[in-house]
Amino acid sequence: MPERVHEITLTVNGTVRRVAVPGRRLLSDCLRHDLGLTGTHVGCEHGVCGCCTVLLDGEPVRSCLTFAVTADGHEITTVEGLADGERMSPVQRAFAECHGLQCGFCTPGFLCTVTALLRENPAPTDEEVLEGISGNLCRCTGYQNIIKAVHRAAELTAEES
């Protein structure tokens, strides 16, 4: 028997998208396969690595631990939606400036996590940064430059607001 599909509507990066998915379609797979937004990376698929982090109604969540059907009617922001047109967001520019990435696989998850972190806490302490990014794994950088990038992003955001 073919799997039943559900018609859902997601507002992804400000655009309303309609898509038909089976109940078991992970939000990460829906974004990547059904909507072609491959910026969201999939690492561990059990919630450990944080690569697939996206913003659901503005809050960072694991898209591999969320069903697309559950997100029906909600707003999603992926890494593709962080930049303002051609101009990278302060968080993206800070990561580039501070060498907060090497291979880049974990970066989309970090960018979404940090964007939400700074929205909630515009000037975090070192400890708050560590706690904030503790759910995102990076196997290249050793984290030091990522922490610098978060502080730099806070500065850039403050300067530009």
């Binding site: 109940g23 919630g47 559950t70």
Partner: protein
């Protein structure tokens, strides 16, 4: 690493949810935050035929003060309870424990009641409910029952919630006057499941002598283990109570197992150290309460 197929149900009222669960019986599983269930599905360790998604039942997101404690609805996310100033006042142990639950991003989605029903013996919230003597409210079509924590956790990943039942809320008793709490744990990496962890509750009488001293231990048995250590630490002021003796009494009560993460001996050692630390901190809080 993809979930197996299931029939997806998204009820829009509690009554509808209970009807669906009554119909699916043993084949039905409730989906709330999904932060424990979806990894199990992704790893194909669980394959329920029906998933009942309660994320539209927003009435269940309430966190409300009730006489004697705090009632947390089935859809209240960890992060919401963690940030609730009222919850912190009524029962500070909740916030102390929630900070140790996974990572902030997981806590945005995961629910307090979901953690209780998942009943992982390595998890913090079952220990909190057990230590405080709270309860879980289970609804089924045509009835509701409150199950005390002591009878709720029946084994590793097993709770008293039966087929057709939905855990609609949990009740956490308030902190009594002149009482304090603490939660300490050791994990390999920040946010991982703890190798060992201890929640402590200490209460003082009118003469500021220890009259309540209780701990709940995680990761050292099939269910959270609650130990009353008031006899071991003595009916004395906190400064002269035998906290080391109380910690030894806890070590004697537990039966940890060896696995790839830690030996049984190491878990016993950690539990002793953490018990003493948590009891001392809880006593300090009680003196200042």
């Amino acid at each position: 690493m993809k979930p197996p197929p299931f029939d997806y149900h998204r009820p829009s009222s509690l009554g509808e949810a209970l009807d669906v669960l009554a119909g699916t019986g043993e084949d039905g599983k409730v989906l709330a935050g999904g932060q424990s269930l979806i990894p199990l599905l992704n790893m194909r360790l669980a394959a329920p035929a029906h998933l009942v998604d309660i994320n539209r039942l927003t009435d269940l997101a309430a966190v409300e003060e009730e006489p004697g404690g705090l009632r947390v609805g089935a859809l209240a996310r960890h992060s919401r309870v963690e940030r609730s100033a009222r919850a912190a006042e009524v029962q500070p142990l909740l916030g102390q424990a929630l900070r140790l639950v996974a990572h902030p991003v997981i806590r945005n989605r995961g629910t307090v009641v979901g953690s209780l029903v998942h009943a992982d013996p390595a998890a913090e919230l079952p220990a909190v409910l057990a230590l405080l003597g709270g309860s879980v409210r289970l609804a089924r079509r045509g009835g509701t029952r409150d199950v005390p924590a002591a009878g709720f956790f029946t084994g590793p990943l097993e709770s008293a919630a039966g087929p057709g039942e939905l855990a609609v809320s949990a009740f956490f008793p308030a902190l009594a006057p002149r009482s304090g709490t603490a939660f300490h744990e050791v994990a390999r990496r920040h946010g991982d499941y703890a190798l060992a962890g201890v929640a402590a509750l200490v209460g003082l009488d009118d003469d500021l002598r220890v009259s309540v001293a209780r701990v709940a231990c995680v990761s050292v048995g099939p269910v959270p283990l609650v130990a009353d250590v008031v006899g071991a630490c003595g009916h004395r002021p906190p400064a002269s109570a035998d906290w080391a003796g109380a910690a030894r009494a806890v070590q004697d009560r537990i039966e940890p197992e060896t696995d790839i993460h830690a030996t049984a001996d190491y878990r016993r050692h950690l539990t002793g150290v953490l018990a003493e630390r948590a009891l001392r901190d809880a006593a300090r809080e009680a003196l200042h309460a």
